[in-house]
C-alpha cells in the first residue's frame, strides 16, 4: 500500500532526525559540563545555548506543553467542549507511569537483562502506553456522564475531577501522598518528548482533515444541526475528550520521568489554567497557534524570571507610551485604565523602594506582568493569535500568490 509506505518512511525520517538532534544535544551537554566556568565564554554560541542544561530543560518542558496544549485544543477548540481539568489527566498519566517504572521496572530490567539505555527505551514506551490508557479510562468515566448533556456541565465536572484526583493522590501513601512521588528514573529525553509531540500534532491534524474531524468541528459550531445531519454528537464529544485525556496522560508521564518526581501541587487547577491560557492565546481550534503559544509562554515565563527589577518599570513606561500613542487602545477604556494603573504603580514602587527592593520582589512582579500581557492580548485579539487559521506551507503559498497576483497600479 503506497500511503502506508509513505507514512512509514515519514515516521522513520522523523525518528532519525529527532534521534540525531538528541545525540547532538547529549554530546554538546557533555562538552558544556566538562568545560571550566571561566572558559564557557570561549565555546561557540550554539554549544553554549544547546549545552546549557537549563536551556535543555526549557526545551523539554516546552515539548510537554505542546502535547498538553494541542490535546486540550482537540477538546476545547476543535470539539467546542469546555474542559478545565487537563492537569488531572496529566496527574493520572504521570502517577500511573511512575508506578510502573518504579515498582515493576526494576524487575523487568532484571528479567530482560536491560542496559541503562535499553531500560529507558523499553520502559518509557511501556509507561507512556499505560499513562495514555489510564488517563483515557479516567476521561471515559468523566466524559460519558457529563458529555451526554448539552451545555457547560463538562467545565464543572472536570473542575471537580481535577480536585478529586489531587485528594486521592495525597491520600495514597504508596505513591508518596502529599510529599510527592520521589526518585523516578530519568527516562525522558529530547527524543521521546518531541517524538510524542510530533505524534500528537500529526494525529490531531490528520483527524481535523478527515470526516471525523469535520464532525467534531460541526459539533462545536452547532450541536443541534450536527445531530440533524446524522452526527452522533455524544459519541464524538466523548471520543475527542478521551483522546485529549490520553495525550495529557502521556504528557504527565513524560514530565514525571524528566523532573524525576511528581508532586500533587504541580497538577493543581493552576496547571489546567496555564494550558487553557496557551490554547486561548494561540487561537482555539488552531494547532499551529497552540504550538506557538505553548513554546512562547514556556520561554516567556523563564525569560521574565531573569529580567532585572528595573526592567518592569521601563516596561510600565513603554506600555503607557504605547497605549496613549495607539488610538485603538484609548478607545478601550478598561484597558487604558489598567495600563495607566500598572504603569503608575510600577513607577511609584521604583521611587518608594528603589531598584534593589524591586529586584528582590520580582517573583511577584513576574506574574503581574505575565497576566497583564495576557489581558492586553485578549483585548486586542479576542480570537487568539491565529484565530482558527493555521500557519502552513499552503498559507505561505497563498500570501505569495496574493503578492504576485496583485494588479500593478498605473
Amino acid at each position: 500500500m503506497p500511503t502506508l509506505l509513505r507514512r512509514a518512511c515519514l515516521l522513520l525520517a522523523t525518528v532519525a532526525l529527532l534521534g540525531a538532534i538528541n545525540e547532538g544535544l547529549t554530546r554538546v551537554g557533555v562538552t558544556y559540563r566538562n568545560t571550566d566556568t571561566e572558559d564557557l565564554g570561549k565555546l561557540p554560541l550554539l554549544v553554549r545555548l544547546a549545552g546549557n542544561p537549563y536551556n535543555v530543560q526549557i526545551l523539554i518542558i516546552a515539548g510537554v506543553n505542546i502535547i498538553l496544549a494541542v490535546s486540550l485544543n482537540l477538546i476545547n477548540g476543535i470539539t467546542g467542549q469546555f474542559s478545565i481539568g487537563h492537569a488531572g489527566f496529566m496527574a493520572i498519566g504521570g502517577y500511573a507511569a511512575a508506578t510502573l517504572t518504579k515498582f515493576i521496572g526494576p524487575r523487568l530490567i532484571e528479567a530482560l537483562h536491560l542496559s541503562p539505555l535499553g531500560a529507558a527505551n523499553v520502559l518509557l514506551p511501556l509507561a507512556l502506553v499505560l499513562a495514555a490508557l489510564a488517563a483515557a479510562l479516567a476521561g471515559l468515566l468523566v466524559g460519558v456522564p457529563s458529555l451526554r448533556l448539552k451545555g457547560d456541565y463538562l467545565a464543572i465536572v472536570t473542575l471537580g475531577f481535577g480536585e478529586i484526583i489531587l485528594v486521592l493522590i495525597v491520600n495514597i501513601e504508596q505513591i508518596g501522598g502529599a510529599r510527592g512521588f520521589p526518585d523516578i528514573p530519568l527516562y525522558t529525553n529530547f527524543f521521546w518528548v518531541y517524538l510524542m509531540a510530533v505524534a500528537t500534532v500529526a494525529t490531531v491534524r490528520n483527524l481535523m482533515m478527515s470526516a471525523h474531524g469535520r464532525a467534531l468541528m460541526a459539533v462545536r459550531d452547532d450541536e443541534v444541526a450536527a445531530e440533524a445531519v446524522g452526527i452522533n454528537t455524544t459519541l464524538y464529544k466523548v471520543a475527542a475528550f478521551v483522546m485529549g485525556s490520553a495525550f495529557a496522560g502521556m504528557a504527565g508521564a513524560l514530565q514525571g520521568h524528566f523532573i524525576q518526581s511528581l508532586h500533587p501541587n504541580s497538577f493543581s487547577f493552576l496547571k489546567s489554567v496555564e494550558v487553557l491560557v496557551m490554547i486561548v492565546l494561540g487561537g482555539l481550534g488552531s494547532l499551529t497557534g497552540s504550538i506557538f503559544a505553548a513554546v512562547s509562554l514556556t520561554v516567556l515565563q523563564e525569560v521574565l524570571r531573569e529580567l532585572p527589577g528595573v526592567m518592569w518599570c521601563a516596561y510600565g513606561l513603554v506600555a503607557l507610551g504605547a497605549v496613549t500613542a495607539y488610538p485603538r487602545y484609548t478607545a478601550r477604556r478598561p484597558l487604558f485604565a489598567i495600563n495607566v494603573a500598572l504603569a503608575v504603580t510600577l513607577v511609584w514602587l521604583l521611587f518608594h523602594f528603589g531598584a534593589g527592593e524591586l529586584e528582590a520582589r520580582k517573583q511577584y512582579l513576574r506574574m503581574i506582568v505575565y497576566s497583564f500581557m495576557l489581558i492586553v492580548l485578549m483585548l486586542q485579539r479576542p480570537q487568539g493569535l491565529l484565530g482558527r487559521g493555521e500557519v502552513s506551507l499552503d498559507w505561505f503559498r497563498r500570501i505569495a500568490r496574493r503578492r504576485g497576483g496583485k494588479p500593478v497600479a498605473a
Partner: protein
C-alpha cells in the same frame, strides 16, 4: 407534545405519500416548528407515535432519524459557521464516511479513496446549486440567501427521503422568494423526495403544495388541497380573525 402545562401540539395526524409535497401553515405559535422537532427527534412526543418507512422513530435520537433519511433545515439558519461551504456539506456526509477513527487519525486504509469520493460528491451538489465558486469561503461570510441555500444543500447531502424545510423563504424579498419556490420544486423533482414545508408566503404554499395542513393553537384545523384550504371558513377565521 406538552411542555409542562403548555400543550404545543396535539392530535397532529399526518400521513405522507412518497414524492408528495405537503405544507404546514398556521399563525405564529401554532406548533409548526414543534411538529418538525418531533419528527426529527429533537423532542420526543409526550404521547403518540411516528413511523418513517416502517421504522418507529419517535423514541430515536435525532442523528438516527437523520441517518434513516429525514433531513431538515432550520427556521433561523443553523450552519456550521466557522467551517467552509464545502466542509458544511462534507460534515453532512461524515456519518457515512466509510472509514474508522483510526484511519482518520493516520490517513491510511480507505481514507484517501473515500475522501476523494466524498469531496466529489459534495462539490457536485454545490455545483448544482451554483455555490461551487464559493466553496472555500466560510459559511458565516455567505450572503443571507446563499446561507439558506447552503442549509438545503447540507440537508440533501445526507441523502434524505424526506426533506423538512422550516420557512425557507423567511427574510427574503419577492424575487428571492420566487427563486426559492422554483428551487424547492426542482429539488423535489431531481432528488425524488418527499417534502414537508413550513411556509408563511402564501404565493409559495398555494403554488407548489399537493396538500396543506393548517395548524392553530397546536390543533389541526384543516387538511386539504390548496383550493380546499383557501376556501375553508375555519382557516379564514384563524388567519383573518372571526367575523364580527
Amino acid at each position: 407534545m406538552r411542555f409542562g402545562g403548555l400543550t404545543a401540539v396535539e392530535d397532529f395526524n399526518l400521513e405522507l405519500a412518497p414524492g408528495e409535497l405537503v405544507s404546514i401553515i398556521g399563525p405564529n405559535g401554532a406548533g409548526k416548528t414543534t411538529a418538525f422537532n418531533m419528527l426529527t427527534g429533537v423532542y420526543n412526543p409526550t404521547t403518540g407515535a411516528i413511523d418513517f418507512a416502517g421504522t418507529a422513530t419517535h423514541r430515536l435520537p435525532p442523528y438516527r432519524i437523520a441517518r434513516l433519511g429525514v433531513a431538515r433545515t432550520f427556521q433561523n439558519i443553523r450552519l456550521f459557521k466557522d467551517l467552509s461551504v464545502l466542509d458544511n456539506v462534507r460534515a453532512a456526509v461524515s456519518f457515512r464516511a466509510g472509514y474508522g477513527l483510526a484511519a482518520g487519525m493516520l490517513h491510511v486504509g480507505k481514507f484517501a479513496r473515500r475522501e476523494t469520493t466524498i469531496r466529489a460528491e459534495a462539490e457536485q451538489l454545490l455545483a448544482i446549486f451554483a455555490l461551487g465558486a464559493r466553496q472555500h469561503e466560510l459559511a458565516r461570510n455567505l450572503p443571507y440567501g446563499d446561507q439558506r441555500k447552503l442549509e438545503i444543500v447540507r440537508a440533501l447531502a445526507t441523502q434524505p427521503k424526506l426533506l423538512l424545510l422550516d420557512e425557507p423563504t423567511s427574510g427574503m424579498n419577492p424575487t428571492e422568494t420566487v427563486a426559492t419556490r422554483d428551487l424547492i420544486a426542482q429539488i423535489r423533482r431531481d432528488f425524488d423526495l418527499t417534502v414537508l414545508l413550513i411556509e408563511h408566503h402564501m404565493s409559495v404554499v398555494m403554488n407548489i403544495s399537493d396538500r396543506i395542513v393548517v395548524l392553530d393553537g397546536g390543533k389541526t384545523i384543516a387538511v386539504g388541497t390548496p383550493h380546499e384550504v383557501r376556501t375553508n371558513p375555519r382557516v379564514i377565521a384563524a388567519y383573518l380573525g372571526e367575523a364580527a
